[in-house]
Symmetry: C2
């Protein structure tokens, strides 16, 4: 295939916008969109989108329905994830509130204050912004997230008691006093909302390790949130989110999600719901599937019917299959997406995170591969989200161990079932890490590897990391376990690599820094290994622009074309 | 501009074939062609090309008119320039003669033997192949080339007396006895042909440092070759080549060349003649210009008219201007190619070599730039060929010195004349070296740099080089002058770099190896410089395939699009 055809396919696919409904401001649906080629906050006025923000944003809290503005963060140092904080209102008036230029992973707001957790090189702290001035309230454990602020209450969660297999929540006040809570030691808890002096949380404490439910906490007791309609109970959700403002539930299991109102199932397209909000008698939501790009829908509750409000191009990329692959005592939920014009070359796509998943939603990395003829096998290896907290925590203390064996099992399955004849491995971030590790540890299993934003050396990465990512690694490795880090680092196995590699890395990546990868590459070169290397400047780990997606993906597609085209 | 448009432009341009007439076999014109996307030996049967070789070739001697076969070399280790020797005949039957897998820069043949000079890590030697067996005749100085063999005479030239500012020629015999000749100490001589016991040579000994003429040598005296028709004398050629078999001359001056028969000018298109051969009353030749892709022509001597035999697409890329830019006491002959849709961004294109030039011939690197809107300024800095041996030798002992100042003068000229508003520098090989050196030594002069197959560190490169390239460097630096090498190495100035760089390098490059460039890149990263890096595997310094041109050029065009698109 000519490169120009490949580029055209890629450009067409990434230009299909992504939509997520994140809530409402004053009865106006608020979305994250990429209609203008970058991640923006937009609103829905009738059936028209209006983009509020001028430049791409890096994150925002959920909007507060009673307010007419929303804060957000923006990466202001070329992908280094050093953030400034802005506000935009419904008119699209945007201004900068503060510019701490530190990594901000979470922020929350009410009518008076903005709270955020920021990570510098040496510490993570909870801050508030008052009158444009930043005030540090208290240092927090590195793996902490703020979720809501309401008057004097600041809510958040994280690994607060030093146990990497549990998550507690906290309530702080504006003086910096911080109390830590958990309904049960060793349970996983995400406290996300304060309403009427009650804290709403998602917790697995009643079904430890299995599934989550919604609870309230009034500083005395935990109460399970019950719903008048009973559909939600028969659905057997593993993950659940609930908005007390409009009684909408999004419940998830086996890589699909459904929308419920007061517990009643609302008919919606198969795939994944990307947020919902209720305004009057209408529920607005976004949805997609592996085969269907994102669209925005309106559910008319009176007429009980769904309409598309913001459409998207239909792209039927392939045949989607969902299997559970047995590996040791684990069942690995795996998506297999078969190209309509398969070329017999398969790609094991390893998702990032590791606490993330491939579910039945539109995927910018998977869709071009499938459309160009590659069958994609996407395993949700142990450690993935979406299958309960026990499964989610199975990689703690064992990254690149059991999870890698699950990935290999998915590879073997694809070969044994004759789905593909040649097979490689590809991923971004943790998926890039797994790619480099796999080609070094089981070199005979792979015909190629494509590693984006990869980890080559956990030990050096630890030294280069800020407080947040040191915390991330201390969670993953159960402490600063340098021996395990070395044992699980691709650079340890670089001499074993057999297959050609394509390595793609952003120069300003502050999560998985470039320097160790350049050292890995030097070793590849010294050992006469075959590799492509593409370093891209002015870009970091998180991607906010469609064009940047193209820059990262195109080298991978050209690599595949060179090998198999 | 969308990437797909850029790729399409590039793919269309590089798909325009290159043609060079290298002689004839049994009254059949022999050409080098890229019609099948790779460098091949082809023949012209009537007005049809027939490709003889199956895979790309790396080089061949001139064909011998009385024979029906021709040897050639092919890179058999993925771009590492480790060569095997093959023969093809007029029927296109191809077989391998020997597979020494060393670097071969020159070979010659007659009806019985093939002679070649090969460079291993430690020595350069003259070899003959007899009955498929390779026999080493004698070690030769590293910068030596064999040009002809005829019976017991083996002819060649090079830097044979240790003076990097002169070239002598040699005659060896099949026992390995080797005699060195020069018409005058300090003169430049290329002995290239043996006919009727006379040696033909190109020499500047009568116009030392100025221009070349053709001479014969019968082991007693040198005799100037005179021509019956006098056009050639008024042309004032600076460089000249002459084929005694068919009395054709190609004479060159100021970046253009003309074709002469017996001294009489044959009307031919402006630009550069890429070889010619006479068969009966017809002269076949190839020609191109900066604005005209290669075509093959037939000159009918009886009717005195030129016809196109093999046509090519017309691509009028821009307006071509030729100026001489004053710098110190040097006039720098410079081509300025102005885009039809200029975007006010200019590129100083620095040719490789350094003993090479940009002349008025079709250029695969320049044409896409101009077509995409960039004005190109291509200086023939001191050291370039085409302007006499004195100019050619001005970089000896001073690489990256006076030549760089000429390049900078061309840059200043383009800015001062308002030809461009922003300006960068780009080159491959020695041009890549000059690019990295320029952005480090005069950082304020450049808005960007694009360096392909560059030299980052002469000192480390010297250690990594084989005998031939050690010889090359000892010529350029007048000996193993490590201090000068360090002083002229881009890595010495890496901290000064200000502008964004795009660095493109083949993994298997054995002339300008990747390792020092990776170290340079590590230093860029440590010093927070902005760079793209693209390493391409299974590819070396010399390019034999159109697709490989695309792989090397596309990242440069995307880099430019990111900066100025």
């Amino acid at each position: 295939m000519e490169y120009s055809e490949i580029v055209k396919t890629l450009e067409e696919l990434v230009s299909l916008p992504i939509y997520a409904v994140i809530g409402k401001l004053k009865d106006t649906p608020v979305l994250l969109t990429t209609t203008e080629g970058k991640v923006n906050i937009s609103i829905l006025e009738g059936d028209k989108l209006r983009v509020l923000t001028k430049e791409p944003i890096a994150g925002s809290p959920y909007p507060k329905p009673q307010l007419d503005f929303i804060p957000f963060i923006r990466d202001v140092v070329k992908g280094k994830e050093l953030h400034s904080i802005y506000i935009t209102n419904l008119k699209g008036e945007e201004y900068e509130v503060a510019s701490p230029k530190i990594r901000i992973f979470s922020l929350a707001y009410d009518d008076k204050n903005i709270a955020f957790i920021g990570a510098s090189q040496n510490e993570s702290s909870l801050y508030v912004i008052e009158g444009g001035k930043i005030r540090k309230l208290v240092n927090v454990p590195p793996f902490s997230f703020v979720t809501d602020i309401s008057g004097d209450y600041i809510l958040g969660f994280g690994i607060l008691k030093g146990n990497p297999r549990s998550q507690e929540f906290f309530v702080a006040d504006l003086s910096g006093n911080m109390r830590i809570f958990t309904p049960k030691d060793g349970s996983m808890n995400i406290a996300y909302y304060i309403k009427d002096n009650k804290i709403y949380l998602v917790s697995d404490y009643e079904n430890l390790g299995e599934s989550y439910w919604i609870y309230t906490f009034d500083f005395q007791k935990y109460e399970r949130v019950e719903f008048p309609e009973k559909d939600i109970y028969s659905y057997k959700a593993v993950e659940i989110s609930y908005n007390p403002d409009d009684s909408l539930i999004i419940a998830k299991r086996d890589g699909e999600s459904k929308l419920f109102l007061n517990g009643k199932l609302l008919n919606n397209p198969s795939g994944i719901i990307a947020g919902a909000t209720k305004i009057g008698d209408n529920v607005y939501f976004a949805a997609s599937s592996l085969n269907t790009p994102y669209k925005v829908y309106k559910y008319d509750l009176k007429e009980n019917k769904v309409d598309v409000v913001i459409n998207n191009k239909d792209v039927n990329i392939g045949e989607v299959e969902y299997v559970k692959i047995k590996n040791e005592n684990v069942e690995v939920p795996t998506w297999i997406i078969k190209s309509r014009k398969p070329n017999k070359v398969g790609i094991v796509y390893v998702h990032g995170g590791p606490w993330s998943e491939v579910d039945n939603s539109w995927d910018l990395l998977i869709s071009p591969l499938v459309l160009l003829g590659y069958n994609v096998i996407a395993p949700n290896f142990r450690g993935s989200t979406g299958y309960g907290s026990k499964f989610n925590l199975m990689d703690i203390g064992d990254p690149g161990g059991g999870d890698l064996s699950d990935v290999i099992a998915a590879r073997d399955y694809a070969i044994e079932k004759g789905i593909v004849e040649k097979i490689g491995i590809m991923g971004y971030s943790y998926g890039g890490y797994m790619t480099l590790l796999a080609v070094g540890k089981v070199p005979d299993k792979w015909d190629f590897g494509i590693a984006g934003a990869s980890v080559a050396d956990w030990v050096e990465m630890y030294d280069l990391s800020d407080s947040f990512f040191k915390g991330f690694m201390e969670t993953l490795f159960m402490g600063k376990n340098l021996e395990l880090m070395e044992d699980r680092s691709p650079i340890t196995y670089v001499n074993n690599v057999k297959c050609p590699l394509c390595i793609i890395h952003s120069q300003n990546d502050t999560r998985t820094p470039l320097t160790p990868v350049l050292k890995y590459v030097q070793k590849l070169q010294e050992n006469n290994k075959t590799f492509y290397l593409h370093v891209i400047p002015n870009l970091g780990h998180a991607i906010y622009k469609i064009d940047d997606d193209v820059d990262l993906l195109l080298p991978a597609l050209i690599f595949l074309e060179k090998m198999f085209g």
